[in-house]
């Protein structure tokens, strides 16, 4: 194995060891609300905010946002904006009332608010579904990082990541997890700031610019091996040498691509001369100028709206995000923390977006082989060259990617294990560790079996499932006294069904063109309103079953803590 691979592996290993060490310094396993409450009393506001941000900023964010910006340009900024706005929606609409409800998982909340066992079971199933779906791209991201940085096969990354997560979760308590995640946030921020500043300085110093009416160009002669079939688009005549299958015909020698779309089969090798234009994935803006300008319309408008709705409404439904509010001593502290969190998340999103913009100048070849999600990882060597400086910077970025992966995945596994432990395994296996191992192992098999898809596709889809199910349940549960158990169940089922059709068709990989296809891949624009509507209409039809104590429950959710009405579960344990 070559030196840069070793440097990257050592860096990833160090992050893993540091996380497990910080994690095991805590004694107790985080399995109950009281652990979160204990954490809330011993962890300061800034480490807590860093931990929340660390947990929210996943491998998909760390790697994916830059990849989206590299490919889509200004239109790619939608993703980070929607993910930030999701946090705001969570704060305005549900954070404080949920903090007061004393329920720390969504199944707890559903039962406390509507007193229905069936609803609770449905919520449990959905939490597991959403959590496991979200772990999929995280695990595959670890695999991608490993194949991008080293010569190891991707499955080593997926399996290794699963093992690391299990070790860090089984070893630690909530207090130590908080410190692990705070550490991981600062590591991620550093791992993005340093390469972003270096790349920016070099870019500004080189006199290059991104605002050209042409495609990006290869700085030197570049050979690209295409490993999965791609459709590429060029804006002007492009000369290249190819060996393999291009546009349905076997080729071995020089070619000139006319402007338009070209099909390249897997196993094809494309060689471009220095200064030649870079083809982009079909559908992405081919020239730099188009890439810099937001331009959408028709189906694209629908797609962007759907992504935004998924991001804004879906954040509150992610199992690991909500739980985090329990590490705040009260609603007031929760509000303060949120401001810090938004600043922290915003900083990271700004940095990854900047890296995505700069990667268009430094690593345009990623556009050709469909590995745009690897941009953040490859910018260091592209910027500093193949030497120790580049390798060390690459090591720092790989450490950041590993931290991003570990923080979100650990958070997800803790939340899933909590639900498995109380709702599924109760009475059978009284061991939280088994629940944690189970939570981490289940998604490994599909992560290995299903081909990797761009984060741009998978992440919004998981957000869409959360948005179409838990967002209506939480928002109506908190703000509308008319919600009934039957209404809630019906709405959850409709939302889950509509959004999961999208998940299934994405996994199978066959989606028709046009607005219908867009809605299959991006179901939120239809699924979220449909779920809200179903919940409201069915609740109206079953008016008689509104819980008798609804006024009291809502009063407790909405009366500020200073009224002394909220009840922490720790008190009753």
């Amino acid at each position: 194995m070559d030196t840069p691979s070793l440097v990257a592996l050592v860096a990833i290993g160090l992050v893993g060891i540091a996380s497990v060490l910080i994690g095991t310094l805590g004694v107790r396993v985080a399995r109950s609300t009281s652990d979160f409450l204990v954490a809330s009393r011993t962890v300061g506001a800034v480490p807590n905010a860093a931990a929340i941000s660390g947990e929210y900023l996943s491998a998909a964010t760390f790697l994916g946002v830059a990849g989206i910006v590299l490919r889509e340009g200004a239109d790619g900024l939608w993703y980070p904006i929607a993910f930030c706005a999701g946090y705001l929606a969570l704060l305005l609409l549900v954070a404080a009332p949920l903090r007061r409800s004393g329920a720390y998982t969504i199944p707890d909340f559903a039962e406390a608010r509507l007193h229905a066992r069936g609803l609770r079971r449905l919520c449990t199933g959905l939490v597991l579904l959403i959590g496991w779906l979200y772990l999929l791209p995280q695990l595959q991201g670890a695999g991608l990082a490993l194949t991008t940085l080293t010569t190891l096969p991707g499955w080593v990354g997926v399996v290794g990541a699963g093992v690391l997560v299990i070790l860090s979760v089984v070893g630690g308590g909530m207090r130590s997890i908080t410190f692990v995640q705070a550490f991981q946030y600062w590591l991620k921020l550093t791992a993005l700031t340093v390469p972003a500043l270096i790349a920016l300085a070099l870019f500004l110093g080189s006199g290059r610019e991104l605002d050209r009416p042409t495609a990006p160009v290869f700085a030197e002669e570049t050979t690209v091996s295409v490993e999965t079939p791609v459709r590429l688009e060029v804006a002007a005549d492009t000369a290249l040498r190819a060996r393999g299958t291009v546009d349905g015909a076997a080729v071995d020698g020089p070619l000139v691509w006319a402007p338009g779309v070209h099909d390249v089969q897997a196993g094809t090798e494309l060689r471009f001369a220095a200064g030649s234009g870079v083809p982009v994935p079909a559908g992405a803006p081919p020239t730099d100028r188009e890439w810099l300008e937001p331009h959408s319309g028709g189906a694209t408008l629908l797609e962007i709206y759907s992504i935004m709705i998924a991001g804004i409404a879906g954040t509150m439904g992610l199992p690991h995000v909500l739980v985090r509010f329990y590490t705040n001593p009260d609603g007031r502290a929760a509000r303060r923390t949120t401001v810090v969190v938004l600043a922290m998340i915003g900083a990271v999103f700004a940095l990854v977006s900047l890296l995505g913009l700069l990667s268009r100048a430094f690593t345009p070849e990623l556009l050709v082989d469909g590995r745009t999600d690897g941009a953040v990882l490859l910018v260091p060597t592209a910027v500093l060259g193949d030497g120790w400086a580049g390798w060390l910077l690459g090591g720092l970025v790989s450490a950041g990617a590993a931290a991003a992966f570990l923080s979100t995945s650990s958070g997800l596994v803790v939340s899933l294990a909590g639900v498995l432990f109380t709702d599924v395994l109760s009475g059978r296996l009284r061991d939280f560790r088994i629940a944690a191992v189970l939570s981490a192992i289940v998604p490994v098999a599909p992560a290995l079996l299903v081909g990797r898809m761009d984060f741009a596709l998978t992440v919004p889809l998981v957000f869409a499932v959360a948005a179409a199910t838990f967002c209506p349940l939480l928002v109506l549960g908190v703000w509308w006294r008319g919600l009934t158990p039957t209404g809630a169940v019906a709405g959850l089922l409709v939302g889950a069904l509509l959004s999961c059709v999208g998940v299934a068709s994405t996994l199978v990989g066959s989606v028709p063109e046009g607005a219908f296809g867009v809605l299959l891949l991006r179901p939120a624009a239809v699924a979220v309103p449909a779920a809200f509507l179903t919940m409201i209409v069915v609740s109206r039809l079953t008016k008689a079953t509104v819980p008798a104590d609804v006024d009291r429950t809502l009063l407790q959710l909405h009366a500020p803590e200073r009224l002394g009405l909220s009840r922490e579960r720790l008190d009753s344990q």
Partner: protein, 107 residues
């Protein structure tokens, strides 16, 4: 789990009965819902502008920086501003009102 069984119904009923509590609730609703609607409209309007007024969005402000890019970055800023506004509102208007109600009930 039944919520709030530690405090008898009387405290709840007494709190609910106070006009101050109704006022508090109205005040919060009047902030939360218009604000949620406002930020949603602002985000969605940007996409509409980008789709149907591309010339407007492509106006160069300085060098490579287009108006679209500036408004895009402003979206991040808005998120932060709304959050700060909400926290200040809650600290100044909601918390003192709640404290006042509590004092009244306990005395």
């Amino acid at each position: 789990m039944s919520v709030g069984d530690r405090y008898g119904p009387t405290v709840y009923e007494r709190v609910q009965a106070t006009p101050e509590f109704g006022d508090l609730r109205r005040r919060r609703r009047r902030f939360v819902f218009p604000m949620s609607a406002l930020f949603l409209v602002w985000y969605l309007a940007y996409v509409l502008l980008a789709s149907y007024a591309p010339e407007f969005m492509a106006i160069r402000v300085a060098g490579n920086v287009t108006l679209g890019l500036v408004i895009g970055l402003l979206q991040f800023v808005t998120t932060f501003v709304i959050t700060t506004a909400y926290v200040r509102f809650a600290d100044r208007k909601l918390d003192p009102a709640a404290a006042a109600i509590r004092q009244e009930i306990e005395s």
